[in-house]
Amino acid sequence: MKPLLGNWTLALVCGAAALAGLASALSVARASAGEAANAASSTATPMLRRLTEAQYRRTIADIFGTDIKIVGRFEPDLRSNGLLAVGTTAVSVTAGGFEQYEQMARNIAAQVTDGVHRDKLIGCAPGPSDPKGEKCAAQALARIGLRLYRRPVTAPELRWLTTSTLSSAAQLQSFDAGLAATLESMLSSPDFLFRIDERGPGGVVDGYSKATRLSYLLWNTTPDDELLKAAGAGVLDTPQGLAREADRLIASPRFAEGVRAFFTDFLMLDDIDTLSKDVLIFPTFTASVAADAREQTLRTIAYLLVDRNGDYRDLFTSRQIAMNRTLGPLYDIPVEKDGWYIHEFPEGDPRTGLLTQASLLALHAHPGRTSPTLRGKAMREVFLCQQIPTPPANVNFAVVQDVNNPTLRTTRARLQAHLDDEECASCHKLTDPIGLGLEQFDGAGQFRTREHDELIDVSGAFDKKPFANALQLGQLFHDDPRATDCLVQRALSYATGRELDSADMPEIAQLTRIFGDDGHRFKALMRAIALAPSFYALSAEPRSASRIVMQKGKGKRS
C-alpha cells in the first residue's frame, strides 16, 4: 500500500514477511478502491455532526448555568480515523441513545423551569396582560432557541413552539410545566443534538454555521451571544470580522477548553474512563488516580501551550508537569500543596515530557503489566499518524510473554524473541524498541529500575537514531518533523470532522508552513485553521476519492 499523501501519512506495511498482516492491509486498500465510485458523496463536507458528550455538557452549562445537573449515560462516541471528531459525522442516534437524550432533556427542562431557576432563565410569567402566557412563551423560547439551535428560531417554528407550550400548559394545568415540555422537545430535537450546517452564499456555510464551527473548534461549546450577534450582522463574512472574532475566542480563558478537547481526542484520553488496573498488583492506581492522571496531562498541555503559548514540540521534553496530592505517590514525590500546581522535575530526570506521564503509560499497558508493544504502537499511531497492522491470526506468543521464563527475566529479553522471528520482526521492530525505552515505568506508570531483580535497559534506537533512555527518546520525538506534520493533519481532520484526502494537500502544506513559521505554537495552528476559507467550505462537489486509509474500530485491543 503506497502512502497516499507523501511522508506525513504513512500507512505502514511492516515488511514482506508479515504475510497475514500484509494481506489484511491490502484487503482494506482494495475495499477502499472498490468503493471509490460510491465514496464521492461521503467525502463532501458533512452537514450533520452529533454533539459529543463533552460538547453537550458544556453547551447546557453555558446556556443554563453550571448548576444544572445532567444525569444519564450518553451513547458512546465513535472513534474513526483516529478521532472521535471524525466519528461525529458518521454516527446517528440509536433507539437506546434517543431514550437517554429524552430523559436528560426532561431532567434539564424540569430544572430550568423549577422554582430556583425559572425567574432567571425564563424571566417572565403569565400575568394580567398576558393571561395564558403566550407572549412570555414566545419571548423566552425565541431567546433560548437562538442559543439551543445556534441560529434564530424561524417565525413558523416559534408559532408552533408557542402553541405547543400553551396546549401542554392547558393539559398539565401549569404554564411552567407546558414550557418545560416544549424545552424538552427542543433539547431532543435534531437541531440541538446535531450541528446542522445552513447553506450560505458562495459555496460556504452561512454566518450562524460559521459561528458554530468557530465556537466548537476553539471553545468546544456553543457560540456566545456576542458571536451570534456577529454572525447575524454578517461580520463573519468578512476576513477582518472573522479574524477579530477568532482572536477574541482565542484570547478568552475558554480557549483552554477547546485545546483540552482537541488533546483529549488526539491522545485518546477518553479511554481512561474504562481503564482498569489490577488493584492487587497496582494498589496505588485507583479510579480517581486514573481520572487525575488524565487531568494532569490536560492541565500540563493547557499550561504549556495556552498559558505559556509554548512550542508544541516542547511537550516531548518539558520537565514541567501539573501535579496534585492524589498523584504524588504514583510519581514518588511528596506533595504538600492543596489543589493543582506546576511541578518541575530536576534536569536529567527520567520523568521528562508527555511520553512519561502516567496517563499515557497506563493507558497503553496491560491491567497487570507493561506492554512495550502497545506503547510503541501508540507512540507511532498517535504522534506520528502511522498505522501499525494487527498481528497475524496464527502468531505464537508463547516465549514472548512467559513471565516466569527462567532465562528471559525481563520484558526486553522476552520481546527479543519477536525480533528473532522474521515474520514478527517486520512490525515489532517498529514498536518494541521505542516502547522498551519506557520500560522504567511500570503498567501503572510508576518509576522502577529493576524487573525480577534485573536492571532494566532502556536504551535503543528510534528509526536508526540511538537513544539511551526515555529522556533522549523524548528529544527524538521533539526533533522529528513527522510529529509536527501529524499534528497539523489531525488538527485539520478534527476541525472539519472528516478524514482527509488528497484534495486537502495544499491546505495541509499551507498550515504546516504557518505552524512552522510561528515556532510551532498551537495557538497559531488553531488560528490558521479558524481563518482558512476551506474550514467553512460547503462542498457538495465530489472530491477525489483517494482517502487516507486508516483502521477504524472501537479501539479494543486484540
Binding site: E35, S42, S92, H366, P392
Partner: protein, 453 residues
C-alpha cells in the same frame, strides 16, 4: 471505509442488504402510531405467550478437544469444558464444527469470527460490516410491541461491550451494570402489569405529543441533506418514533404477565470491585441475568444481547499479571496433559457462566412451562481455539424451545458447513420469512432441519 459501499439509507430501511430480505420497520411503526399502541399491546395478553430472542456472548472460545462432544443427537456426552452445563443439558443444543469462511480475506483476530457469526460475512473491523447483526433483524420483526425494542447488556461495566449493530456506525450500546439495568427496567417509567389500578399519566400524553411534534415539524430537514446524512437523520427519526411508541404503551394498562414479579433493587456496588476478576464477573453476570429474566417476564423487551466477557476475553484472576486473552497465546501446552491448563480453566469458567444464565431463565415459571421455553437464546464466541484465533468450528449453543418451534438438547456436528446455517435457522424459528442468509460464499439457503419442529 464502509461509508460509501452502499446507500446507508437503503441499509437502514431495508434492514439487510444481500442478507435476509426483511421489509419491516417503518410501516409497522407508522401503523402502530395510528392505533395508539393497541395493535401491539394485544398479543401480549390473553393470546399465546410471546417468544423472546437473545444472544449470549463469551470471548476466547474453547479448546476443541476439551469442549466438543463426540456423540451427536440427544443425550450427547459432556467433555470437561462442557461439564458445567450438565444441570441444564436438556435445554441446550450444542452446534460444533460450523465454520466461518474467510474467502481469502485475512483473519482479523477476534473480529472476523464474531462479525461473520452475527452478520453473515466476516469483516475486518466492525465499522465495515455489510449487514446488521442478526439480533437487529429479529428485533425489527418482533421487538416493536414491547417497551424496549431490544436490551443490550454487558457484565464487564463497559457500555461499548456490545456486538449489536444496526450498521457499522451504529452500535447499540450496552447497559453495563445491574444497578443501571434495574433503573432502566423498573425505574420511574415502569408500570407493574399485575397491578389492578391504572390511570394514564397526562405528563406522558404531553411528552408523547411534543415528540410527535418534533417528528412532524423537523422532517423537512431531510430534504436539505446529502444521501448519507439523510440516512443518519432517518435513523434519528426512527429512534424518536420508538420512544413515542414506548410512551404510547405507557398510556395503556399493560396486559397482565403472570410470571412478572418486580425484583428488589440491587445495591450500588463499590467502585473498587474488579469485575474483570472471574469470580466477581460471574456474580455480576448472574445478578444481571436475574434482572433480565424479570424484564422478559414483565414484557419489557423481547430481544436482548448479553455479553458475559468481551471479544478477546477481558477476564482475569485478580492478582495475576496476565489476563485470559494473553494466556491463550502464551501458555505452553502441558505435554503431560496435552492442553493449556489455565486456558482450560477460563474456558470452563465461561461455560459455568452460560449454565448460570440458562438456569436462571429455566427457573421462571410461565404458562405450562418456563420462561426459557418461550425463548431462543443464541450463545456464541468470537473464535474456537483462541491460541491461533481459529474461526473454524466457532462454538454455538442454543437454549430454549422458542415457544415450541425448536427441539432443544441435541448436539449437531456441522463438519465444516458454513456457520450461517445456524443464523438462518434461528431467524426462521423466530418467525421471519427468510429463505437465505449470509453474504458471498457464506450465503446459504439450508437451515438445520434437525432442530426445527
Amino acid at each position: 471505509m464502509s461509508k460509501g459501499r452502499f446507500s446507508r439509507r437503503g441499509f437502514l430501511l431495508r434492514g439487510t442488504l444481500g442478507g435476509a430480505a426483511v421489509t419491516l420497520g417503518l410501516p409497522i411503526l407508522d401503523a402502530f402510531l395510528d392505533n395508539n399502541g393497541a395493535a401491539f399491546a394485544a398479543p401480549l395478553g390473553g393470546g399465546p405467550l410471546p417468544v423472546r430472542f437473545g444472544t449470549w456472548f463469551w470471548g476466547c472460545g474453547m479448546i476443541p478437544e476439551r469442549w466438543q462432544p463426540k456423540a451427536t443427537g440427544a443425550g450427547y456426552d459432556l467433555p470437561p469444558q462442557l461439564a458445567p452445563i450438565k444441570r441444564v443439558q436438556q435445554h441446550v443444543t450444542v452446534l460444533s464444527g460450523f465454520d466461518v469462511v474467510l474467502d481469502g480475506r485475512g483473519n482479523l483476530p477476534h473480529i472476523s469470527g464474531n462479525t461473520a457469526v452475527r452478520t453473515g460475512a466476516p469483516a475486518d473491523v466492525w465499522t465495515a460490516i455489510r449487514a446488521p447483526t442478526l439480533d437487529v433483524t429479529i428485533a425489527e420483526a418482533i421487538g416493536s410491541g414491547s417497551f424496549f425494542r431490544s436490551l443490550e447488556l454487558s457484565a464487564d461495566g463497559d457500555p461499548r461491550t456490545s456486538y449489536s449493530f444496526s450498521n457499522g456506525n451504529s452500535l447499540n450500546a450496552a447497559v453495563p451494570s445491574p444497578f443501571e439495568l434495574y433503573t432502566k427496567i423498573f425505574g420511574a417509567d415502569f408500570h407493574d402489569p399485575n397491578k389492578a389500578d391504572f390511570t394514564p399519566d397526562p405528563r406522558i400524553m404531553v411528552r408523547k405529543s411534543v415528540l410527535s411534534g418534533v417528528g412532524e415539524q423537523r422532517r423537512a430537514l431531510l430534504a436539505r441533506l446529502g444521501a448519507s446524512d439523510r440516512a443518519r437523520l432517518d435513523q434519528y427519526f426512527t429512534s424518536l418514533r420508538e420512544t413515542e411508541n414506548k410512551l404510547a404503551l405507557q398510556l395503556q394498562k399493560p396486559p397482565p404477565a403472570e410470571a412478572c414479579v418486580v425484583p428488589p433493587a440491587p445495591t450500588k456496588p463499590a467502585s473498587s470491585v474488579d469485575t474483570t476478576d472471574i469470580g466477581n464477573r460471574k456474580a455480576n453476570h448472574r445478578l444481571m441475568a436475574e434482572l433480565l429474566a424479570m424484564a422478559l417476564a414483565c414484557n419489557q423487551t423481547r430481544v436482548f444481547n448479553f455479553a458475559f466477557s468481551t471479544a478477546a476475553s477481558d477476564l482475569r484472576q485478580a492478582g495475576n499479571t496476565t489476563g485470559y486473552h494473553q494466556i491463550t497465546h502464551e501458555e505452553l501446552i502441558d505435554r503431560t496433559i496435552g492442553y493449556q491448563p489455565t486456558v482450560d480453566k477460563f474456558a470452563t469458567w465461561s461455560m459455568e457462566g452460560w449454565a448460570d444464565f440458562v438456569e436462571v431463565m429455566a427457573g421462571i415459571k410461565e404458562g405450562d412451562g418456563t420462561l426459557l421455553d418461550n425463548m431462543m437464546v443464541f450463545a456464541h464466541s468470537d473464535v474456537s481455539y483462541a491460541k491461533n484465533h481459529d474461526v473454524t468450528g466457532v462454538p454455538i449453543m442454543l437454549a430454549g424451545r422458542a415457544g415450541g418451534k425448536i427441539k432443544p438438547g441435541i448436539h449437531i456436528n456441522g463438519a465444516g458447513e458454513p456457520i450461517t446455517r445456524v443464523g438462518l435457522t434461528v431467524q426462521q424459528a423466530m418467525g421471519l420469512s427468510v429463505d437465505a442468509w449470509g453474504l458471498d460464499t457464506m450465503r446459504t439457503k439450508r437451515n438445520l432441519p434437525e432442530i426445527l419442529v
